[in-house]
Amino acid sequence: MKKFVFAIFMLVQFLLGQIYGQKFTDRVFNVEVRESVSSGTYINYSDRDRDKYRTSPKFTSNERSARDNVNFRFNSISKKDSIERTLFKAEELDTLKRGIAICQIHIPSGKIVSVSFALQNYVDINKLKRFKNEIETNLYLEVELYGNLEKEGYLLQSFPIFVSRRRK
């Protein structure tokens, strides 16, 4: 009996170990389960190309940061919802909690060049790859510039995903 209890204990420890801190690398994403500083656990699907787009844009007015020279408008919400509904079944969307897509935005064009995800549920990784591809191809952020751009670059913006069913 003791051996059986010990075996169950070891199995539980093994399974927990599989969940927390689990890490694996895919062709497109680095996947990792992380413990958040402020709230619970989340699964991070980090775009492996993300580091290519780290350079911030530069403006001629040096005293002001890029943040003070740029404003974003995300006007593609209905398009994003439509992509979600195409890729994921209604039943899936009902069970998925709100996640975020973390995007590197090209300044000045507003083109989304890299997409990572932070999610509260595991999601079929192939569907996420298609989702990333659709976001990069079909969505963009409107960029307003308030200063003279000296050198193009990239800034980070996130937007919520898996909320389309809640809005209906």
């Binding site: 890029a66 975020i100 990572s116 932070a118």
Partner: protein, 244 residues
């Protein structure tokens, strides 16, 4: 709030001018004035509209002060007024907390570095600084060295949380030096949870992010001020609004 439509707008709406105008919503054709009063019935501030666009801002003034134009510049230009009106219009139509901030009667004046910086985005932050200036006893100028980071971080968090849950995020750590990717993601998750009222703004969480902000935002680095370690002004605005 008092809605005073012009006769031509009354006629245009077939005398149903009040059907399409409320505390937050304005008809795209609204022409007239919107006035706000405090609970004692005293005038606080107001707006003049023409075809849905704000043309003038009204405020309570001292004798001999111009009641409409409030741009104080060595050369107050028409283009500045036009940019300000556009920024104000965009700002107050963005959302609930923006309206709450703007209707706050105790806020002091705001300053823009130049014409280009008169935008709805900068208005948000500068208006918040003006409200901090009025809220904190002795104003915020005393925190130019010690406490600068507290004042700036509270404004950045405010700017991030007042957006709608569908709006993109975030500004506070956008240009932070060597800010770890996981923390950037977690800050966004924290902000979205507050935007959606899943969690409330907790002092302990706020203090964690304030420490990271001071470590990684070199342009705002300063020694911290202990009595500014909680977001008092944000909470005060939240409590006084019906937005959360």
């Amino acid at each position: 709030m008092t809605i005073i439509p012009l006769v031509k707008y009354l006629e245009f709406t077939d005398f149903k001018a009040f059907d399409n105008n409320s505390y937050i919503v304005r008809d795209k054709q609204f022409t007239g004035r919107i006035l706000y009063h405090n609970l004692e019935g005293e005038f606080v501030n107001g707006w003049v509209y023409k075809n849905g666009e704000i043309t003038h801002f009204l405020k309570r003034v001292q004798p001999n002060e111009d009641p409409v134009i409030f741009l104080k510049s060595s050369r107050s230009l028409d283009c500045q007024k036009s940019k300000l009106n556009q920024a104000l219009s965009e700002f107050i139509h963005e959302g609930c907390m923006q309206v709450a901030l703007y209707n706050h009667s105790e806020s002091k004046g705001i300053t823009f570095a130049n014409t280009e910086s008169i935008t709805s985005a900068s208005l948000k932050e500068e208006r918040f600084h003006a409200w901090q200036d009025a809220y904190y006893e002795g104003g915020i100028a005393q925190y130019a060295k010690v406490g600068k980071v507290n004042i700036e971080f509270e404004a950045k968090v405010f700017k991030d949380i007042i957006e709608s849950p569908n709006h993109s995020c975030c500004w506070a750590f956008m240009e932070a030096n060597d800010f770890p990717e996981n923390l950037s993601t977690e800050y966004s998750l924290w902000i979205y949870d507050i935007r959606e009222s899943i969690i409330t703004l907790q002092d302990t969480d706020y203090q964690k992010w304030l420490n990271f902000f001071n470590q990684h935002n070199t342009i705002y680095y300063s020694p911290m001020q202990d009595n500014l370690s909680t977001p008092k002004v944000i909470k005060s605005l939240m409590n006084q609004s019906d937005c959360y």
